[in-house]
Amino acid sequence: MALLEIEDLRVEYRTLRGAVTALPGFSLTIGEGESVGLVGESGCGKTTLLMAMLRHLGPAGVITGGAIRFEGRDLAHASEADLAKVRGSRIAIVYQEPASALNPTMTIGAQLAEVPMQHQRLPRAAALARAAEVLADVHMPDPRAALSRYPHQLSGGQKQRVVIAMALLANPALLLLDEPTTGLDVTVEAAVIDLIGELRAKYRTALLYISHNLGLIARVADRVGVMYAGELVEEATAVEIFAAPRHPYTRGLLAAIPRPGASKETAALLPIPGTVPSLAHRPPGCGFAPRCAHFSPGLCDAGPVAMAGTEGHRVRCLRWAEVTAAPAPPSFHRAAPPTAALLESRDLCKIYRLPAGALKANDGLDFAALKGEVLAIVGESGSGKSTFARILTGLETATSGSLRFAGAEIANRTVHRRSAGEVAAIQMVFQNPDGTLNPSHAVGWALGRAVRKLGGLRDRAKIAARVEELLALVRLPASARHSRPRQLSGGQKQRIAIARAFAGQPEILVADEPVSALDVSVQAAVVNLLLAIQAERGSTMVLISHDLGLVRYLADHVVVMYLGRVMEAGPSAAIFAPPYHPYTEALLSAAPLPDPTHKPRRIRLEGEIPSPLNPPAGCRFASRCPRKLGTVCELTPPPLRETADGHLIFCHIPLERLRAVTPVFAPEMVEP
């Protein structure tokens, strides 16, 4: 029995420059209590679809055709009065940014109580009681007290729980989730996803997840739709889509991210060339045709492509039956012979003196990075990864301890006290492509300046030649030097940033979440590029990331940090197999993998990350550890446990017991 039936929905945006079609004809059915996931990159019309379903498109958006049938009403043509009966009560939405979904001037209780007061005409006291019940349902600690708090007094994960509680208050039949966990730490994300699943079972609510994160969709959805350029291009059960994708776009998306357990030695990532077409320049025929490797002139660009395929696995491709999946491209990575340590951190500490007390952002970091390898630093926000990057790059100095780069002590010297060679040798690629380039200056200027300062060139002609070399290095045309950053896509900006970092001869490249802000199809291109340049130049890469799939793929060595301390360090293969540090185990179990058949053992961390101003005295992780032994963990710093292959674990639990756990990943997923 279908709960929601979207049939041939057409949405246009009417702007001063004319009308553009956002959704040319979208159809989707959601059954009662079903969980449907929609994936697609930014600009594919996912958010437009959600807003059209709520008839909240803004003044420019117009529904020009089709129907949205929900519980006997056609929402596309319903009156405002009818819509008011549906919005918030029968269909609720959880927005992407929990911080901006809550009103900062109202208490949680007041905001939650509005829903039953509005929709069920409950008196205020009853509404507040109902709010407290639902807060208990979303596992909010001390729900009664939470009612009188303001949003700024809650953590990000708690805010998202409140938003979910608000959506559930009216007991909706359909819950729309727009990137519900973007911006949350992986352990918090896992807890929120579990919570939604639990509530779905309890209230029999149907879910529509919208996300670009394939791993998340694989974990939560029964049925998956893939959106491209405003159209549904493929629809099947989650297992089918991930095991046997039929549309070239779906295949492209899956080939662009590391398969579970894959590493750079075993398989290469395959980017999808080009970008999502803009609404105004929709290609005739198949929307994906300009980027498709199986494009056939005269066929794919002839006219609109209808849904084809088989019952239960529909695909909008004319050639789906004849096109076979391309074999995974072989790895091009050649393992470099092991080398000496280039970077050595010994007992490195960074303490910020704040009015509220001393904040130990880094507390006794001990690890090394070998020449030419990729060292990944993993941990949730607040773990001190970025502080370490700032000390390494010389933006700040350490409070104590030592950081030796090629034998020279750099922990106590900022860039201004480092030699020109040392400055050029340690460069960085930043997370946010929009902030990484100065919008006031052309690309050529930015690169030229870097060449002048880092490469030491003075001659104008030589600088210009070097800038062209750098653009070629990151596979951009030489004409790109005239572009302003606002004319570039996110991936292009990130490539310019990589070129800038390589203006000198960097021996260490610090990459702080280099692809997390990019679309999936672009991520692969940037990862490949980083890897290729890094291997070619023999540079060491210090990768800072929370994306364990990417870390598994890229890293040779991994350091796991929690609250400023190293929990575990070792070769990548060893980190992803037992023995695990309990924190690593929880991180791995929480990481969403693009494989719906993968059901990791559920290890969920209780509570929030403690304040770094007042960390636990013993093991930093003691307050949230699911395998805590007892007071010894809280009071005594954990001993170092070392295995034969250089795998270090700081834990009170003996190695034998740490080893005797079932792997979070199936063994074949760990060993290539």
Binding site: G274, A293, P327, N438, S440, H441, R475, H482, Q492
Partner: protein, 302 residues
């Protein structure tokens, strides 16, 4: 030449797609000034300003009497006549000539003083926003103190104490405008200082001066262009007000504000004597304000 991507196995198929979806970089969207003609308001303002600039430039060649020459015969009938198109003032000087020559003064003193105020204000704002800490505290509190005075009172105190001259007007405009400009620049700087491109500049060991002037200042230009035009308008009014209060450009130089003031005793008998210089002042200020509005509107469309 190394192959660009490890796509060799699927290379044949992918090559076509790569070619069709070749690296696309959007065309540059035209700059704010290039789009100026698309805003009617901005163009109207610009026309008014250009009219006065033209008038000021052509003053020496226009067939006008000297702005200080007195026509004693016309004093009896100061209204418009064939000899004096806009009439004469109480001393028998030609109003049109004085307005035209007065435009030269306004259009010199106002921009010079605003530019000078900008130099000081940007320096203050950049230092405050970039350095932070006690530098910020000192500059911001200083700005607050100056901004606490009503602008007119500030001008009057300043000019009355140091004497009326073009240079002192410039100094007074710097003192009253620079703190407001510094606030704008400081606010923008605070946001930009945290951006990654500034961190990247630090990682190249750029000097603080380079970061402030080359990395940060150009990103302030959007709000500053609008403010610059508005401030030209305010300053023009202020110069007029000072002239009216007798604190403007010293006589006998033709000063629009002074002309209005000289005509006020005769306002009931000869209202046109005050009206013409007042209209000149209003039209120029209107020009600056319309241009500012238009630029603001264009900036919002970005």
């Amino acid at each position: 030449m190394k192959p660009p991507f490890p796509a060799r196995s699927a290379a044949d198929a992918a090559a076509g797609a790569v070619a069709r979806a070749a690296e696309q970089i959007d065309r540059p969207s035209p700059s704010l000034l290039a789009r100026l003609p698309s805003s009617r308001i901005a163009m109207a303002g610009l026309c008014l300003i250009l009219f006065w600039v033209l008038v000021a430039l052509l003053a020496p060649v226009l067939p006008l009497p000297s702005p200080t020459a007195q026509d004693y015969l016309a004093m009896g009938h100061p209204g418009p006549s064939a000899a004096h198109l806009l009439g004469v003032d109480t001393l028998g000087r030609d109003t049109l000539a004085r307005i035209v020559w007065g435009a030269r003064i306004v259009l010199l003193v106002a921009p010079v003083s605003v530019v000078a105020a900008y130099a000081v204000g940007c320096a203050m704002g950049l230092l405050a926003g970039y350095c932070g800490g006690w530098v910020d505290l000192l500059i911001s509190r200083l700005a607050d103190i100056i901004l606490a005075f009503p602008v007119v009172v500030l001008y009057v105190i300043l000019i009355a104490s140091v004497g009326a001259s073009a240079l002192n007007i410039v100094v007074a405009v710097i003192l009253s405008s620079a703190p407001a400009i510094s606030r704008i620049v400081r606010g923008i700087t605070l946001g930009i200082v945290r951006k990654d491109f500034v961190a990247a500049a630090h990682l190249r060991r750029e000097s603080a001066l380079h970061i402030m002037l080359i990395e940060i200042l150009p990103n302030c230009r959007g709000p500053l262009i609008t403010d610059f035009c508005l401030r030209l308008g305010y300053t023009t009014i202020m110069i007029g007000t000072l002239g009216f209060l007798g604190l403007g450009i010293p006589p006998p130089a033709p000063d629009w504000g002074g002309m209005v003031q000289e005509a006020t005793p005769m306002l009931i008998v000869f209202p046109l004597m005050a009206l013409f210089p007042a209209l000149a002042l209003i039209s120029l200020v209107l020009g600056f304000n319309l241009l500012a509005d238009g630029l603001n509107e264009l900036a919002q469309k970005d």
